[in-house]
Symmetry: C2
Subunit: 348 residues, 2 copies
């Protein structure tokens, strides 16, 4: 009998990134930005994305693309960035202590779209890749924030994401769907930000760990904490998964925007949309790790806050009138639920 | 020779609060709320404050008063609260470790006014009193956020606060003016929130400590850190000082609102006001200790977020045109400066 410790490791670990990992991922992220901008611009038909290329003094840079006053999109931003530096900030090192003392590399795409028509939901996407010393990981997600309740839109959105996930692993969708519900939760309002989608972080091939939730009290924490590890995932497995997730955005969202763009609306719908956009601001400024991290570490403020809506309202003590679409949004859509099996009563 | 430790303390320390301290302060805070609401309502002439009385399950309660859609005030809130509980949250215990393990009492008034006319500044006031075991302290301040630059308004505002301070101690105004510049600073924008005013915290008679700034990099930190202690202040001295500060609000602000209320404005001024209001939201949600503390500790969300403006705009990459009043606001008014001696060049 021999001990494994005495066997020299002659083949590279399957969980190591390939030598051209950074180029592969940043190439994909740039293409994703291109494809998304092209299709959104085609849908809009009037607005054009304007690009600002920028450099980060500490290393790297990005290209911010913004569409303003379009036919569909009142404001939207699709950012690509690729940055590096001598050390990760403490907020990330808490979750990745192995990265301490190592230089890091990060690349990703982030996007928020604020349509003008209140019947079209706001949508957010972010995918990112990190390398830092001995560790690397993928993270990100997509989530939808409707203003008016159309169950079929939400079911379509979730089904599209579920399909993208299930081509890779059956545990992905249920785990990352619940992680999304947990992450995009406004504790002070006791509401989800919208109807969720998928969210994940710290996906690597080394730990096999699927879920690393916060110790916060989101509604999905109890379930998700039980989720175990998946052994044997390679870098390629995870990169392919993230590519599928990124590519799922357009088929998940465009049909909804196309379907709802011609519904007429008035002041009532517009006022409700502007009021609900306030929740988006509250979430992004109070809870969102990326936003707070960016603001506290001298990120490019205009790119970070591109996610904020163009016109927002706050109103003291607002409550929707009973038996209205606005009330239905609160009662049903802003509570986590099993959208893809919605015809079956959910007992949780 | 005798040691001081062997002398029994037979007379109460002058720094101890009187037995009816809580009643005295809460009575003053309620009267301040009443007086402010009356005078603001008289000025507005159309809008009326609506009161919501509320109770806090853990102990205490308050009365929130809101004016909406007035002639002058698009939205404004004046809150009184008086709360108690078994322990202070960690964020306060960091600054007041002596209070650990003790029940606490806190009372105060907070106010934010968002006028409709962009030529009238937004204004904020907060005064508060804490008792917790062996310690007690007063804190608070008043600060002004103009949208259009009128130097005489700012000079009047600061002079009124300075006068209120100087009746009590010559170090109060310069120290608390700089603390205000330091506190109401948006690091990610490299701007002050407005033109400041006064701000102080942890004022007691025991330590004599005047300034306890953050370790953050506000523009006034370097100066203020040098400020020493004032010995021998009694509870009554500080209560009288806080009363003077509270009473200074109406003479500091009302003449400005009266003076500017009839200036005509158009879309340009209104758009700039709504854009600048975004900074108010960014400050309150990203930096303000009171707001973040309240949201994280199950405070009354609607009362806490009453400070947010009724209608707000964000615009990617906005910059004011050179040689406009909007540019002057950025170039001069959003940088800390010596307003009361403004005719004399300031060399700092």
């Amino acid at each position: 009998m021999i001990t494994t410790a005495s066997i020299p490791q002659t083949t590279p670990s399957p969980s190591l990134p390939p030598v051209d990992a950074k180029e592969k991922v940043s190439q994909f992220m740039k293409q994703l930005q291109d494809t998304i901008c092209q299709d959104l611009q085609r849908l809009d038909g009037a607005g054009k994305f304007q690009e600002d290329a920028w450099e980060r003094p500490e290393g790297g840079g990005g290209r911010s693309r913004v569409i303003q006053d379009g036919r569909i999109f009142e404001q939207g931003g699709v950012n690509f960035s690729e940055v590096w530096g001598s050390h990760l900030p403490p907020s990330i090192l808490v979750q990745r202590p192995e990265a301490a003392g190592h230089p890091f590399y990060a690349t990703g795409v982030s996007m928020v779209l604020h349509p003008r028509n209140p019947y079209i939901p706001t949508v957010h996407l972010n995918y990112r890749y990190f390398e830092a010393g001995p560790v690397w990981w993928f993270g990100g997600g997509i989530d939808l924030t409707p203003y008016y309740p159309f169950a079929e839109d939400v079911i379509h959105f979730h089904n599209t994401l579920k399909q993208a996930c299930e081509n890779h692993h059956p545990e992905y969708y249920p785990t990352f769907k619940r992680w999304c519900d947990e992450y995009f939760y406004l504790k002070h309002r006791q509401e989800t930000r919208g109807v969720g989608g998928i969210f994940f972080d710290y996906q690597d091939g080394q730990s096999g760990e699927l879920y690393r939730g916060s110790d916060e009290s989101g509604p999905a924490a109890a379930h998700s904490a039980k989720v175990g590890a998946i052994e044997g995932r390679t870098w390629d497995d995870l990169f392919q998964f993230v590519q599928s997730c990124g590519q799922a955005f357009l088929p998940a969202y465009l049909p909804i925007a196309e379907q709802r763009q011609s519904i007429e609306y008035g002041d009532r719908q517009r006022n409700f949309q502007m009021y609900r956009r306030g929740r988006y601001v509250e979430f992004n400024l109070v809870y969102d790790r990326g936003t707070i991290f960016g603001l506290q570490t001298n990120g490019r403020t205009e790119s970070i806050l591109m996610s904020l809506p163009p016109l927002v309202r706050w109103e003291y003590g607002y409550k929707p009138e009973p038996n209205t679409p606005e009330a239905e949004l609160y009662e049903t859509f802003l509570k986590p639920q099993d959208w893809v099996n919605r015809l079956v009563p959910v007992n949780e």
